[in-house]
Symmetry: C2
Subunit: 304 residues, 2 copies
């Protein structure tokens, strides 16, 4: 067994240390702690010793585009998040578009990091076509999640929502187990509803038209404006940050956030916190073994 | 009968002329032409001769907050849109948060104006509590629409979607006509589903959880970061603009947009164009009469 900070610390050191390595390592370890191993240290399978250093942001710009095809993706997204926070403090608002991004895990830890720094963070990621448009029959966009975080402590809100009814991993799992799919989540190759995982050719948007439009919003940002769409080397990801403290005393966004949280819960809503492992949570021996294997591979420098 | 450009021209002159008056006038007249009179020149009822001039943006800032409580709202939103376009060209990305905004009509014409200028525009508006959180029983947020536009000509996309199942105007209409509401759109004062318009105490989010979270995203932007929430003088509105041409030749966002549109339609999807009246459309005599009445009121300067 290993405590989360210890596991994240070991991984951060193997990723070269420093704040970006720390953020990337925490994000991956947290996913395993939350029972989402697909978004966890499994990402280290894509780590290579010759990964390119993460491209640096032009420090005088509020907006930037980065090609991450040669980078280790979790480190690239973490590094872009740190740079974005700096730009948002300088300009009040900043945006970065990444393309060629391979598996990087969940968006939540990155927007939450922006919230930790007093900012409002928004992120989205497009990907290969798995999801049909509302009313359509063939896959056009990815599962295109959108995330937002603002606030600290108990008021903090972290939204992280996929715009599809399911993920392709859910379909793979159902295929392996032979279980029927829930109704209304997938189409077969002829565009007909199906509950047989092996026949799935497209997923449906979450919530019908509104999920379809939100998936399109993410695609237009990360895929069109960001240039990620159709890149065989990886996904398009966008990150935005706003500095609400620029508004001055008159706005008092912290008080408004606390008020909204109170109203939301009183109205019967669930205040989304985006999933965060309890600080005292520990990871089991199977995780430790997987981590050891990954770290050993990362420390043996081939050819030396 | 009157042609759209003629009606917009007359109204723009009455609003003082200039680009912001032109944009505001076109937006209102267009809503009437689209058969949405609630978002049209009916807004002129709130025009007063002593409306404050629209506050000017600090030209050296990428982000700004404006209190519009004393302004004529359509003109304030139009003016903020024009200033935002300038800031987005200067910084690559820019944001403006308006608060105290009274009725201003639809978001679509304003984001479309940003798209006309080669930008990607996003906007959202919060409002008084009509909509319950997903799974909840009491109203907490407004119908909170989100809009996005990018591109020109036939490739252009304009998304403009409310995050609720209906609007309070739909409920008022049903109340007047006595027609039963569709199932699953509203709750009564006890938080139970109702189809009786007179009993409606809360609307439901569109598409369930995803619509509820998107409504919350708009509230966090326009209401919390923008400071609009709970302001009895009006709504919170945010506008964002990005300049995708800053990415340089490598991205070619126009080609990616055309490709996405082709894929979307081929996949069976509807490419959203946000509602635009045909240029040759004409408005009927009833409209002309309403316009004349409004313009007469605007030109008679009380007390002079």
């Amino acid at each position: 067994m290993i405590a989360i900070p210890d596991a994240a610390g070991r991984l951060a050191a193997a990723l070269g240390g420093g704040p970006a390595a720390q953020l990337a390592a925490s994000a991956l370890v947290e996913a395993d702690a939350l029972g989402l191993p697909r978004f966890g240290i499994a990402m280290l399978d894509e780590w290579t010793v010759d990964a390119a250093p993460v491209p640096a942001r032009e420090s005088s710009q509020a907006i930037g585009w980065l090609d991450c095809a040669s980078c280790f993706a979790p480190l690239a997204v973490a590094s872009a998040t740190l740079d974005l926070a700096e730009a948002a403090r300088q300009f009040g608002v900043a945006a970065v578009f990444l393309r060629g991004v391979r598996g990087f895990g969940r968006l939540a830890p990155f927007v939450r990091h922006l919230a930790d720094g007093g900012l409002l963070g928004i992120a989205g990621a497009e990907g290969p076509p798995f999801v049909a448009p509302h009313g359509g029959t063939r896959p056009v966009i990815g599962t295109n999640p959108l995330a937002l975080a603002i606030g600290q402590g108990s008021e903090r809100v972290v939204i992280d929502v996929a715009t599809s009814t399911a993920t392709m991993a859910d379909i793979r799992n159902a295929r392996a187990s032979g279980a029927p799919l829930p109704e209304g989540i997938a189409l077969d190759g002829e565009g007909r509803p199906t509950r047989i995982a092996a026949e799935v050719a497209a997923l449906l948007p979450r919530g019908g038209q509104i999920g379809s439009l939100l998936g399109l919003v993410v695609e237009l940002m990360a895929g069109v404006a960001g240039g990620g769409r159709g890149d065989p080397k990886g996904r398009g990801v966008f990150l935005l940050a706003f500095d609400p403290s620029r508004a001055g005393e008159g706005i008092d966004w912290q008080a408004r956030l606390a008020g909204l949280k109170g109203d939301w819960i009183e109205g019967g809503g669930h205040w989304p916190r985006g999933g965060r492992a309890a600080p005292e949570a520990v990871l089991d021996d199977d995780f430790v073994q997987r981590l050891d294997t990954s770290l050993a591979r990362m420390t043996i420098q081939p050819g030396r």
